[in-house]
Symmetry: C2
Subunit: 543 residues, 2 copies
């Protein structure tokens, strides 16, 4: 009886349209993702907030500039002018504070660099680094400056080495799918170029309109296509890297298979600009899928979310390209934020799942998705759902997932944690955080005198990646103390990672011990010391 009701409620390809239209009108281009991906075209850096940041040096008064680093002198400028043209050197002046290069996207950090170098060739970068290394000038490599842990901007007066002008596609082989490009090519441009050739960049993220191919490699970004195409450790075939002493490590000619010696390039994937400057990337692009489907499902418990995931892997297997889950609270916040737009599902459910398939044959994919959904409804793991009928509906369903970060910030502020946990325990962190905040009497969705609105959870189930967002009415030391190091300790006790995607940067430098053991940390420091003995690259960060 219940099954039957449920089944009737689930109306494949039917309910979506009216919902979508309302949604589209109200939310044209509001999400962070959209803003970011258009911003680059107009060349205006769009921050996450209008409130300008304080100087990092002021926010962290205990942190001192390292005296072993030389201060910039006129001799240094003379040298840089000898190898770079005027348009490749930006200096701070009375009118120009270089804020665009000194502030991060979140506007949490602000450096004080007086010099930005924007070389156009690898050879120039080699000369710059050699000079800086010989003269103990600290350097921050900067890509699209969209990083979320304060890694891409100076802390004090480090020179910014911007890759923005090293931005050519070098070659593409349409038989093998191997793309070779400069590090400064914007991700969206690389993907558009590949689209013209029937291929796809094996990685996508909200910042694609600004972030660089070199930047995503330097941060080992995860993003939306990881479930389908795997990590950059598998898809990057070769790199060109300028080492701190100016030497060039070049494996750009590497083919898909090469078993001669340690795979050096791997060390630079995720090294966040601390041991070398990535100048070129060779990557294997898969064929672009011809059909994409998105479904949005209501689920009764976190256990059921896991069941749906296993079923999806079994039934959709090779075409499953995203499996995102969201809790009810995240959707409640999103509904408040997207006022007036009706939610894809009429009733409320403890959990929601967004499922995406990408394949080469629309008809087959539709059939697979339908069969999977029918089974999942039948056995009760899915309680309700809609499937997008066209590109617009598809993007709209994604909006209910992608607008969560913004929605959780809308009440005043948000503490964000990007962690990995074993799948079974992924959601337990959200429960634990809410419990703790309630115990301390800090949290209420309705009482405006409480600092915390709620802790919400969502993320990439497929990758064991949870985003814990604690939505607050205002930032407060009290709340921060209740959350930290509690969250890191919780993650560490489950052998999770305190940074699944975003990296260490400045923000998490001191917390690596929660994810890595002593032996690992010792070996990481040893490598840093091996490649950058003067520690000129990205100081005050990472380890």
């Amino acid at each position: 009886m219940l099954r039957h009701t449920v089944k009737r409620q689930f109306n494949l390809f039917s309910r979506a349209k009216p919902v979508r239209e309302a949604f589209l009108c109200a939310h044209n281009g509001v999400s962070a993702a959209v803003r970011i991906s258009t911003m680059n075209r107009s060349n205006v850096l769009n921050y996450s907030t209008k409130i300008p940041p304080r100087l990092t040096a002021e926010s962290y008064p205990n942190l001192q500039r390292l005296s072993e680093f030389k201060k910039l002198s006129s001799d240094d400028l003379t040298f840089f002018k000898s190898i770079l043209s005027d348009s490749e050197i930006l200096q701070a002046t009375a009118d120009e504070d270089l804020a665009v290069f000194n502030e991060d996207w979140m506007r949490k950090y602000k450096g004080q660099s007086k010099l930005v170098l924007r070389p156009k060739t690898v050879n120039q970068i080699s000369q710059i680094l050699k000079y800086c290394n010989d003269n103990r000038l600290a350097v921050v490599p900067q890509g699209g400056n969209t990083g979320l842990v304060g890694g891409s901007i100076p802390v004090f007066d480090e020179i910014v080495l911007s890759l923005t002008q090293l931005n050519k596609i070098r070659s593409f082989d349409s038989v093998s799918g191997i793309l070779k490009c400069d590090a400064g090519v914007i991700l969206e441009n690389a993907d558009s170029f590949l689209a013209e050739n029937g291929y796809i960049f094996p990685m996508d993220l909200g910042a694609k309109g600004s972030c660089h191919v070199g930047g995503i490699v330097a941060t080992n970004a995860g993003g939306l296509r990881l479930l389908r195409y795997g990590s950059l450790h598998g898809t990057v075939l070769g790199l060109e890297v300028v080492l701190p002493d100016g030497k060039i490590l070049n494996s750009m000619d590497a083919l898909r298979k090469d078993n001669t010696g340690y795979d050096l390039k791997q060390l630079f994937i995720g090294s966040e600009g601390t041991i070398g400057v990535i100048t070129g990337v060779s990557i294997l692009a898969p064929p672009r899928p011809k059909a994409v489907n998105v479904g949005f499902l209501g689920v009764g418990s976190y256990e059921a979310v896991q069941e749906v995931f296993v079923q999806a892997k079994q039934e959709l297997s090779e075409i499953l390209s995203a499996f995102e889950f969201m809790d009810l609270k995240s959707q409640t916040l999103a509904k408040e934020h997207l006022k007036g737009v009706s939610h894809p599902l009429e009733d409320e459910y403890p959990f929601y799942v967004l499922i995406e398939t990408s394949g080469s044959n629309k008809e087959h994919d539709d059939a697979k998705l339908e069969a999977f959904l029918e089974k999942a409804m039948e056995n009760g793991s899915v309680l309700d759902g809609v499937v997008a009928q066209d590109e617009t509906e598809l993007r709209n369903l994604w909006e209910w997932r992608e607008s969560i970060p913004e929605s959780s910030q809308a009440g005043g502020g948000v503490y964000k944690y990007d962690v990995s946990l074993p799948l079974k325990e992924l959601y337990s962190l959200v429960d634990a955080a809410n419990e703790r905040l309630n115990e301390k009497g800090l949290s209420s969705t309705s009482d405006p005198t409480k600092p915390v609105i709620s802790a919400i959870g969502y993320g990439h189930v497929g990758d064991g990646n949870l985003h814990l967002n604690v939505a607050v009415r205002a930032y407060s030391k009290e709340v921060e103390k209740v959350l930290e190091p509690f969250v890191y300790e919780f993650v560490s006790s489950k052998h999770g990672s305190i940074s699944a995607e975003h990296g260490l940067g400045f923000q998490k430098k001191n917390y690596i011990g929660y994810s890595k053991n002593e032996q690992e940390i010792a070996m990481i420091k040893e490598l840093k010391n091996l490649y950058d003995p003067n520690a000129i690259l990205n100081p005050y960060k990472y380890v």
Copy 2:
């Protein structure tokens, strides 16, 4: 008109059966792959040839044992006996020459070790290595001893550290698909275990009945599923490694995503036992495909092979799991070897392609394959073909690919080269080799006085991996000199790799310069020196 004829010749699902039956009778379990994968069950090591090898020290008289290594003493044995039980220590005696551990699978090399240690715990391995490092005793880590470059056996009197008894599955998470196991688990056992749980090991190779999970990681093996599941650099999530000084690097708890620090484990993938002993592997297993199809196609030119590959990627996309090509000469040899068995295709073609799909829905996969083949016939890139109707036929079609190594050895001997080349130029090496052999008057398929029968080519087009086999009537220094360093120089001039899959080991130690540049080699040596300053691990090999 031509098109029409061609189309009629191509008879989907029809011609295969009679051919297969004949084939099966004649070739029950003859191929190397089959032998290898059954050999483990009976625990008998099956070599590639019956002719026993000469001592490596005799074949390479210029190579000297390094005097810095201590010779085994009774004190050393006393120590090993204090931490290992009797069954964990094998000593050479008058009756027992430890040949199984001293000879490689190809029987090209033979070491003179007098001591084999087969510990059962990681802790024992840590103690062994610390002792050997402190006492300058050289050690060779050994997995299933199926390596093809002489890396797994001693050159002189090095101690063999065999992982065979460290062979437990540690855990499997059926939601995430994460398998954790000891390094000594045999690949086939790991895969069978996963099969029971609906998952598949993301790697397969002919040696699966003997090679270890740790061994394939140590060699970064490629094999048959690479096209579909990518390289081990993407699928391995964590490792447990004992370093030469006995310290244990453990990242077994790592989840799919963790961006905190350099990805240390990557250095050990493909390190061939030179910087640490892998004791545990955590790997992400994909769901087991429910449907597998195999087609065997006739193609008119190497250009057409490339066209078919691009079409297959576009049309079969996510279900394409193998794309193997073979030249006519390879099939001519195979036909001679498999006397009396009729070839899958009636007529001869300059090239053949074996295509495999693996997906979650048989009906969909059949439809995709049929549509692809029809198109490819229509536009003339494929001239003829058959598709297997059942599991038996499927295996038989694979036999025509897998029997090539044996067939090329059957005339007397074979020089084998396992290289990567840019796809466009993959086959040019075979032409160049044949031309050169003909020029020198060394080659003839019919004249028995010529040393060379023919150079043939086949391999994994999907990975840019060519196997060049030079079939000879007898080994001769003259032929070898014509081929080497010619082949390596040719590969190097096209920026290819002289070892796509098999690694460097002993055989290619001196040739790394053909694949890696000076900077890369310098950094590889630097890392070896960092982790193994006394160079006790796998000496005389790799770099």
